[in-house]
Symmetry: C2
Subunit: 122 residues, 2 copies
DNA sequence: CGCTTCTTCAACCAACTGGTTGACAACGAT
DNA sequence: ATCGTTGTCAACCAGTTGGTTGAAGAAGCG
């Protein structure tokens, strides 16, 4: 579990950059080499190489070796880790709100019960 | 759409920090003031205040005003934005792999068809 | 009013990040 | 063996980030 913390650190940090999210979108269509990935951008080839390295260290992509080319491809499991984290707390918060609503409804009912002198069908 | 880019930038960056993810986990249980949030940590109170500000600017939490207290609570919609982004590309990649598998299966079949001289049950 | 509580703002520092350029490693082709 | 292609590594620079401390704002309480 202590390792998944660092994994999440890197995965979220990696996707915080719009260029890297763009690369992920591109890679969701097909695998590509660093050169192909860099082509649409104004920045230097090396900058994109760095971005890919960040994605790789975050576990979001992997590389295979094909002669001197290193095609990059997405690693779906890393994305699952992130959605699991997010969904967990989103769900807990949601559940809490449902309980809170129920509590409020119950409290309102109690208030009515406790004051029979007040108008009951208001 | 151009705005959701910046929103995602900040949301992912905010969750890249383990302390901030911890705060989110804490807030999924119940709303809390900055003071309550800061209590378990060694770092200064102001550091936690900064973290909360980052979460707020990312849209992940909001604050209400209760006298001099500012209770912090999670904003579920911001989390939805992130999961939607992740799930979109995860799903596209998944679909692509299914197509690739199908293509490979078909190609293998073609190879067998095209070479009847080779051993067929290898 | 003055005092305490909760919180933010400002200035500063060390570390990290995204960009650059230049050198170089690995492999295929000639 | 040399050349071109593909990609990484190293050094550097500017901007951001997470932390600190100190001062100050805002709201309740004596």
């Amino acid at each position: 579990m202590g390792d998944s913390t660092q994994q999440l650190d890197r995965a979220f940090a990696a996707l915080a950059d719009p260029t890297r999210r763009d690369l992920v979108a591109r890679l969701s269509v097909s695998d590509a080499t660093v050169g192909e990935l860099a082509e649409p951008y104004d920045v230097s080839f090396q900058a994109i190489s760095k971005h890919v390295k960040v994605l790789e260290e975050a576990g979001l992509v992997t590389r295979s070796k094909d002669a001197q080319r290193r095609p990059v491809h997405l690693n779906r499991e890393a994305f699952d880790l992130m959605t699991q984290w997010i969904e967990r707390y989103r769900r807990e918060a949601e559940e809490r709100y449902r309980r809170l609503d129920a509590l409020l409804a119950r409290t309102a009912q109690d208030d009515e019960d406790r004051r029979p002198d007040k108008e009951q069908a208001s």
